[in-house]
């Protein structure tokens, strides 16, 4: 890089605070023309916030943004687009009912005598596709396309708007390894044409495979800047997680192999509404006193598995196999299965109900809360106060709506409710997502305690460290099947990663 060329984009001293949380603390980031710049860090390190600042979604409390050396003000994504920035969000922002061509041009449409020029739009899609290897049928409706192609449409959308700096937020989280490899080829083609790419990820393998330079964030600060050619994975890990390495392991006593399963899944096949199998012949069991982990790239069937096991979507007429709870088939939500969902707002809480009312859901029919024909308000409140104390939930009052709690405390409330019921089976998804490090360790201890008490725990997590720390066995899912079963103490990132990619036996 010649020294006189200014960086394509530069962030200087960015600080952004959300209430008490300092998400970015004086972050500097410089993206050169024609490079793939990886931005890495663990969940909550501040990557998303930084990129939201660069894309005009958040205004920084202090700091400057420069494009090609001159300062710019980005008050909205529209401003960012106008300044040649393009972003591919983790949750795509496509219009499912529109065609590929319409999605690409909307907001910057070619017209001829005032009429939308759809032919020109299709040609534009084909031209850009040719140029960068981004093939997509311009007339296809986005709703019908596989995830990988939808991502290409997102990139095409940015390129059509003449983006010169392309930001991709965790682009491979939803891709199969084959699709990911194709994406990397596209990114190389894009940078060869002189554009810049910011690759936000927490997967070090991809950084080393396609990145030119890396910036590492931890706790909202930059903890390392490296040139990929001159660094190693170990060096990046240290910068990402600091010296404390992965979470402490909580080994369990091996459950006796002969004991019956508390939860068993037999040859389960689940189809979606279009008849496509999302789970194929899945079989496994969880014994009392055991934590079984579930790993896999997002969309490998974990969600369908959890929905079936918890009875929220029991196997229907088009499905096959069974979910058994102590030998009995699960056909509905069972009080014997506690469940901590990933979707805290949509599923695990009702924002407008009080903390106390949220804390009894699932247990509302238990005799301990009754008084005559009614639900005793006093008993509900007492239960809530006890849980608030025992699990150190910070709340103004148990009568205040749960929406007044912070995210971490709301998560603790959900955990308190589900763990305190001492059900034979616990199903838990992403227990520490969006939770700070201190609370993380607390939650891990609680889960280990539940296991040691004799509960059967099914733990789905995308954090491999978490699975290694807690699980006695780890099931790896790929394409709706269980492709590997690895004992917790033998699981390495490499072994898990290979299985998740669907490449290992």
């Amino acid at each position: 890089m010649p020294a006189e060329t200014p960086p394509a984009a530069e962030l200087v001293g960015i600080t952004k605070r959300f209430g008490p949380v300092l998400a970015n603390d004086g972050v500097d980031l410089s993206i050169a023309r024609g490079e793939i710049h990886a931005l890495v860090g663990e969940n909550g390190a501040g990557k998303s916030t930084l990129m939201s600042v660069l894309y005009g979604l958040h205004r920084p409390d202090s700091g400057r943004i420069l494009r090609n050396g001159s300062p710019v003000r980005l008050r909205s994504p529209a401003d960012a687009i106008a300044h040649g920035l393009g972003m591919v969000h983790q949750r795509f922002r496509l219009f499912p009912g529109l065609t590929v061509a319409e999605n690409v041009v909307i907001g910057a449409e070619p017209t001829r005598r005032g009429v939308l020029d759809l032919a020109a739009a299709r040609e534009e899609v084909e031209r850009l596709g040719e140029l960068y290897g981004l093939r997509a049928d311009p007339s296809a409706v986005v709703r019908d396309l596989p995830i990988g192609v939808r991502q290409r449409v997102e990139i095409l959308k940015a390129l059509h708007r003449r983006a010169e700096v392309l930001i991709l937020d965790e682009p491979t989280a939803v891709l199969t390894p084959g699709e990911a490899a194709r994406l990397f080829e596209v990114l190389r083609a894009v940078t060869r044409a002189g554009l810049s790419v910011v690759l936000v990820t927490h997967r070090l393998g991809e950084v080393l495979a396609v990145g030119d330079r890396v910036t590492v964030l931890r706790g909202g600060r930059v903890t390392g800047r490296f040139t990929v050619a001159e660094t190693t994975a170990d060096e990046l890990v240290v910068a990402m997680i600091g010296r404390s390495a992965s979470p402490a392991r909580h080994p369990g006593r091996r459950a006796a192999a002969g004991t019956p399963y508390a939860l068993e899944v037999r040859e389960l096949t689940v189809r979606d509404r279009d008849g496509v199998a999302r789970l194929s012949g899945v079989s496994f069991g969880v014994r009392a006193g055991e934590i079984v982990g579930v790993a896999g790239v997002a969309g490998s069937g974990q969600r369908e598995l959890v929905d079936a096991v918890t009875g929220l979507h029991p196997p229907g007429p088009r499905d096959a196999g069974a979910v058994l709870l102590s030998g009995r088939p699960v056909l509905r939500r069972e009080a014997a299965v506690a469940y901590v969902p990933e979707d805290r707002h949509g599923r695990a809480t009702a924002a407008d109900m009080s903390l106390a009312e949220n804390l009894v859901m699932g247990d509302q029919r238990s005799p301990g809360l009754r008084r005559g024909p009614g639900l005793s308000a006093a008993a509900v409140r007492d239960r809530a106060r006890e849980l608030v104390g025992r699990f150190a939930i910070r709340a103004a009052s148990v009568d205040a709506p749960i929406s007044t709690l912070s995210g971490g405390n709301a998560q603790k409330a959900v955990l308190a409710r589900e763990l305190s019921r001492r059900t034979p089976v616990i199903v838990i998804e992403e227990p520490t997502q969006g939770v700070d490090v201190g609370a993380q360790e607390q939650i891990h201890a609680l889960l280990a305690e539940a296991r040691d008490r004799g509960q059967a725990v099914l733990l789905q997590s995308s954090e491999l460290g978490e699975l290694r720390a807690l699980a006695d066995r780890i099931l790896v899912m790929y394409g709706g099947r269980i492709v590997a079963q690895i004992p917790g103490d033998e699981a390495t990132d490499e072994r898990l990663g290979a299985a998740m990619a669907g490449t290992a036996a």
């Binding site: 994504p77 922002r93 219009f95 529109l98 909307i106 449409e109 279009d274 229907g316 088009r318």
Partner: protein, 306 residues
């Protein structure tokens, strides 16, 4: 009776025209992502303002123009709360429908000086196409002859809406805004103005529908004369989704049911059977569509409000 006989076809078109116009408005709102359940009140308001302006000016065409303007303005009762303040559009619509019922009945007594039904020989209705010389033409004469020009305008507006949504910049943007407002907003599209525009356009169309109802189908205003047609339009939008021709087809089904109901009455059945027929048929159509969608998907169909 022969359902292809010209008089019956004519009756179907007469009954369907106001519903199609109102439903077209509902469709625009639905495309933009606003669930418009206020069509019933807007239709009533349109009918009322059409009669009042025809009464005041002595010209049915001024009545039409006035109804279109006044109902577009009245649509702000829905659009400002629902779009600007993001209030629940269903609750607002319940209020707006009640308000229209009260306002028309109140103002009728204040302006026209009567309650119940207002009609007068001096009230100018819309001309028929027969008067324009179409009556003598074979086949189409008996079908279109008794219709007002607005009935002829109706299919033109349906086709125009279908074309506009597909082939113009603003049509594409409106569709995008309805599908994913956040994404549209981040591309710099202004969600609010487009939605206000859709709701006000729906008001204008309901004004036209009301004018056709009060000055075309008949020449009078009576309290509550929209008589559920706005709700049928809502159902038509649920059945036809965002496709104008399908929505119009659903409305024609309703028109056929209403015309059929009149025939039943003519055949000696009580008037109540005629009153009920359109609703029963509309409900059956909804059930059939719901069941078909359920068969196709086995999961919950997508009939629900956006």
């Amino acid at each position: 009776m022969n359902i292809l006989e010209p008089a019956f076809v004519a009756a179907v078109l007469t009954a369907a025209a106001p519903v199609i116009l109102a439903a077209l408005g509902g469709l625009l709102c639905s495309v933009s992502g606003v669930f418009n359940m206020a069509l019933e009140g807007q239709l009533l308001w349109g009918a009322f303002t059409a009669v009042v302006l025809s009464h005041l000016t002595g010209s049915a065409w001024w009545g039409v123009a006035g109804a279109v303007t006044a109902t577009a303005l009245y649509a702000a009762v829905l659009s400002v709360p629902a779009v600007t303040f993001r209030a629940d559009p269903v609750v607002v619509a319940v209020g707006a429908n009640l308000l229209a019922l009260g306002l028309t009945a109140f103002l009728m007594r204040e302006i026209l000086g009567v309650g119940g039904t207002y009609t007068s020989p001096g009230l100018d209705g819309l001309p028929t196409l027969a008067e324009a010389g179409l009556g003598g033409v074979p086949v189409i004469g008996p079908v279109l002859g008794p219709q007002s020009p607005l009935v002829l305008v109706t299919p033109v507006l349906v086709a125009a809406a279908a074309w506009w949504l597909r082939h113009t910049r603003s049509g594409l943007r409106l569709r995008g805004i309805g599908e994913h407002p956040e994404a549209a907003g981040s591309l710099g599209l202004r969600v609010g103005p487009y939605r206000h525009g859709a709701v006000l356009a729906a008001g204008a169309l309901c004004g036209l529908a009301g004018a056709q109802l009060a000055l075309g189908n008949v020449t009078l205003f009576s309290e509550g004369m929209s008589a559920g047609r706005g709700w049928v339009a809502v159902v038509a939008v649920m059945l036809g989704g965002t496709r104008p021709y399908r929505v119009a087809a659903a409305c024609l089904l309703f028109g056929a049911a209403e015309a059929f109901g009149f025939r039943l009455q003519g055949a000696g059945l009580p008037q109540q059977a005629a009153d009920a027929a359109p609703y029963v048929i509309t409900l059956l159509a909804l059930v059939a569509a719901g069941a078909a969608s359920r068969r196709r998907h086995a999961a919950r169909p997508r009939l629900e409000a956006p």
